[in-house]
């Protein structure tokens, strides 16, 4: 598998835990590097062929600051040839109108820059009103809900990583 990085904010609690779990699930296949989005430089981001980006959704459907502040750099990138998988954290019960919107915002941005999105998952098993991460009946990444379905995290991460192993190049 080509060079792979997991990009997320090291100052997060839940996102960091999922990033660690993803990294562990890859252990027998490839070494993935952890990268702090709060300090990332454009050339560093572009140095990976495969990227796993983790984001929560803030408030009523916003990208967290740590990603939002990197967006102006991202906008200048050509991401053709990059394989990007996104995992998003959301609360489908507390914020059912904007479940995983942060993941949707990143997906839209990466796609517009030419990236190939991988790691789509089924929306089955989730209950929400609307989600910016939904694409044709699927999520454009992995949805994690610590608040109401935390017990499913391990199973969902493992299944997703197995899928990524096939879809990454």
């Amino acid at each position: 598998m080509k060079k792979t990085g997991i990009v997320f904010s090291f100052n997060t609690h839940k996102t960091s835990k999922i990033a660690k779990r993803i990294s562990e699930a890859f252990e027998d296949t490839a070494k993935v590097e952890m990268v702090n989005v709060e300090e990332i430089r454009p050339e560093q981001f572009l140095g990976y062929e495969n990227l796993i980006c983790g984001t929560a959704t803030w408030f009523d459907g916003e990208l967290p600051n740590h990603w939002d502040e990197f967006v102006p750099d991202l906008e200048d990138m050509d991401l053709k040839g990059k394989n990007i998988a996104i995992f998003g954290l959301g609360d489908q019960k507390g914020y059912p109108e904007n479940f995983l919107d942060g993941m949707g915002i990143l997906a839209e941005l990466f796609e517009a820059l030419g990236a190939r999105l991988v790691g789509f998952t089924s929306t089955e098993g989730y209950a929400y009103e609307s989600s910016g991460a939904e694409r044709g009946g699927q999520f454009c990444g992995l949805g994690i809900d610590y608040e109401t379905q935390g017990s499913k995290n391990k199973e969902r991460v493992n299944a997703w990583v197995e899928k990524l192993k096939l879809e990454f190049r």
Binding site: F59, N65, D68, V71, D73, D76
Partner: protein, 680 residues
């Protein structure tokens, strides 16, 4: 993509970025320092911190153009005001309520920033009611075809108020240039937004409205806020329809200095709201994208600190308002008739009914002044001209732009009258405040607010409005169709209240109301609209000055003070007493309750020594209570008996004619009371 938008961290000019950082920094220093003034007992006892709303407030102020727009900030809009151009001194003068406060010399609550001179309006603490004012002024912008928009800013919780719905409905229906901004920080004091409405984004409650665009932005982000507000403005100007912008914010501190947010927010939340600080984010962006160096930003911050220090010194040295000034600007000077100086005439012609007097005066004034408007429920639909046809024929003659129906929303009728009169001082507005006077209660919020405006702004804004209302009973109308409300209305300083009994006085007072600056409450005794008793000759140019009672019958033995429907009953009783008992009863028709003709009243009391006060409203707490108290206070030594009162019983007015008759005063009740007093 963000990159295609107007403002971007990589492309926006350095001077613009510096200006924004300067304004935001100065605002934050003032916001952080404000609580110190209360701690030191200097003032600023109400401070609602804006920290966390920085992006959207900067953007509101930046898109506001003082040459053509009207801005209605709310009590948390300190940075909005600064971004619109208010100086640190002006913020502090308002905060510590100094005489130099440009909003109104310390008359209004602190943290209510305004500069009426620039159309940054002085708004109410009754939060969100300025949406109606924004709609009203936007109506004028559209009617006069001038450039500009009205910008209304409020928190998301006040959108729960019914008048906000009325305002947005009106803006949508009339396609008015209004930009409604909802600054959503998730709380109304301690009440989370889930307790306000079912949707998390309250703006989306309005998705079914036509002619209305709804936009959302991150109010914590300078660029998203600036772009969204600029795009909203462009949309209004291009499509000539209103826009709602809902800006997601955080409230970093408590609601205000009387709130303790640690009672309802846990440590996690208290920490994360600080992490989302919009100013810190903007600063990080300026550094990350190498638009400024750390040293450059430090220098700006130091400069702003120094500016605020200087402003603080100016504030501490500024004079306080004087206690002697409290009676200034309660209400503007009225129009003074120069021909009919005491409001009487000797015109001899065919009598006209009271309703005809009103209709002809309205038409004459509309011909006289092209800047007069009238609206209300039912006032203009083909041949219909008001529930009683007072406005009959007006729309045909003056057109739909000046004479038009309003939705069944009394607060909207009143609130938009307030707003439209803010456009300029030439405009005169007449509203039928409600179908019947006792339907006016839903408009009370906007009415009360309007009574404050001239005083609160220290004369900078005069709401030039005449509220017409068909009042009183004797028609078998029952509740909401037969009651009097002047007992309540006359408790408010800031409004003139008139209540004629005859056609000529109705015409003359209406003309004076319409020509005057300020707020006028014009009560029409609807039982007399077509009554031959109230019909009189009316000179075409008749005017009645405020505060001039009319002695309708002279007498030496008893004074009856009255107004409205009961004037005619009092005259009948006086005639009967004169004929049957030989006593002389003087009947004073007040015509004007506020201002009150104390001189005429006292002169009569001194002459007769006995006073009967008669009105249709309830005796208990009716306007007569004030008259009786004033007479007792000023003329006690001249009285030969108690000041007696006749009016309605302390009950609602019944629909059944038997009940109505038992409740309302009539000639027999007046006759009995008068005779009792004469015999005292």
């Amino acid at each position: 993509m963000k990159k295609n938008r107007k403002y971007h961290i990589k492309t926006t000019g350095k001077k613009t970025l510096e200006k924004w950082f300067r304004l935001m920094t100065m605002g934050r220093i003032l916001d952080d320092r404000a609580p110190n003034y209360l701690k030191q007992a200097i003032g600023w006892s109400y401070h609602a911190p804006f920290a966390g709303h920085d992006g959207i407030q900067l953007a509101i102020g930046q898109i506001f153009d003082r040459e053509k727009d009207h801005l209605f900030p709310y009590y948390r809009d300190m940075l909005t005001a600064i971004s619109a151009g208010l100086t640190a001194e002006e913020i502090i003068y308002n905060g510590i309520s100094k005489d130099l406060d440009v909003a109104g010399g310390g008359r209004h609550m602190s943290n209510h920033f305004a500069k009426p001179e620039w159309n940054v309006h002085n708004v109410s603490s009754c939060t969100g009611n300025h949406t109606l004012h924004a709609v009203g002024v936007a109506r004028a912008i559209k009617k006069y075809k001038t450039p500009g928009i009205a910008i209304s800013s409020q928190g998301e919780s006040s959108v729960s108020e019914g008048y906000v719905y009325e305002a947005i409905n009106g803006a949508s229906n009339e396609k008015l240039p209004v930009l409604f901004v909802f600054q959503d920080n998730g709380y109304g004091i301690s009440v989370p937004k889930k307790d306000q409405t079912a949707r998390r984004k309250v703006a989306d409650n309005f998705t079914g409205f036509r002619n209305l665009k709804i936009m959302h932005c991150n109010g914590k982000d300078v660029f998203d806020s600036m772009n969204t507000m600029a795009e909203a403005r462009e949309h209004i100007e291009e499509h000539e329809e209103p826009v709602i912008v809902q800006a997601n914010c955080v409230r970093i501190h408590s609601h205000s200095n009387s709130d303790a947010h640690d009672l309802y927010r846990d440590d996690f939340e208290l920490n994360y709201v600080k992490e989302y600080d919009p100013l810190a984010k903007f600063r990080r962006l300026l550094l990350r994208y190498e638009r400024f160096t750390e040293e450059e930003l430090d220098a700006i911050e130091e400069k702003m600190k120094e500016m605020v220090r200087k402003a603080h010194k100016a504030g501490m040295a500024a004079p306080d308002p004087s206690p002697e000034s409290i009676h200034d600007f309660v209400i503007p000077e009225p129009y003074i008739p120069d021909k009919y100086t005491d409001g009487t005439h000797n015109y001899d012609a065919e009598s006209k009914k009271l309703i005809q007097g009103l209709n002809e005066t309205l038409k004459a004034e509309f011909r006289h002044n092209p800047d007069i408007y009238i609206w209300g429920q039912d006032v203009a639909h083909k041949e219909k001209g008001g529930i009683f046809n007072v406005t009959k024929g007006m729309q045909q003659e003056f057109g739909k732009e000046r004479v038009f129906n309003a939705p069944i929303a009394e607060d909207f009728i009143m609130g938009t009258a307030n707003g439209m009169s803010r456009f300029n001082d030439k405009i005169r507005i007449v509203v039928e405040g409600a179908e019947f006077a006792d339907y006016f209660w839903p408009a009370m919020e906007a009415f009360v607010e309007t009574t404050h405006d001239y005083w609160r702004s220290r004369g900078q804004f005069s709401p030039n409005i005449t509220i017409r209302l068909a009042s009183g009973g004797y028609i078998g109308g029952g509740l909401y169709h037969s009651q009097n409300i002047e007992g309540s209305i006359t408790t408010f300083p800031g409004v003139r209240v008139v209540y004629p009994s005859f056609a000529d006085d109705a015409a003359g007072l209406l003309r004076t109301c319409i020509r005057s600056r300020g707020l006028n409450f014009f009560m029409e005794p609807k039982a007399l609209y077509n009554s031959p008793k109230a019909a009189t000759p009316i000179p075409d140019d008749f005017e009645v000055p405020f505060g001039k009672a009319r002695i309708r019958r002279e007498g030496e033995d008893l004074t009856i003070i009255t107004y409205g429907n009961t004037t005619h009953m009092c005259l009948e009783a006086a005639l009967k007493i004169s004929g049957e008992d030989g006593s002389g009863v003087e009947v004073i028709d007040l015509r004007s309750l506020i201002p009150l003709d104390k001189e005429t009243i006292l002169a009569s009391v001194k002459k007769t020594g006995k006073v009967l006060v008669v009105h249709e409203d309830k005796v208990f707490s009716g306007f007569g209570a004030e008259l009786a108290a004033q007479i007792t206070d000023k003329a006690f030594e001249y009285l030969d008996g108690p000041v007696k009162r006749v009016g309605s019983t302390f009950t609602p007015v019944g629909f059944n004619r038997i009940l109505e008759g038992a409740i309302l005063p009539d000639t027999d009740k007046i006759l009995k009371a008068a005779r009792d007093l004469l015999e005292y």
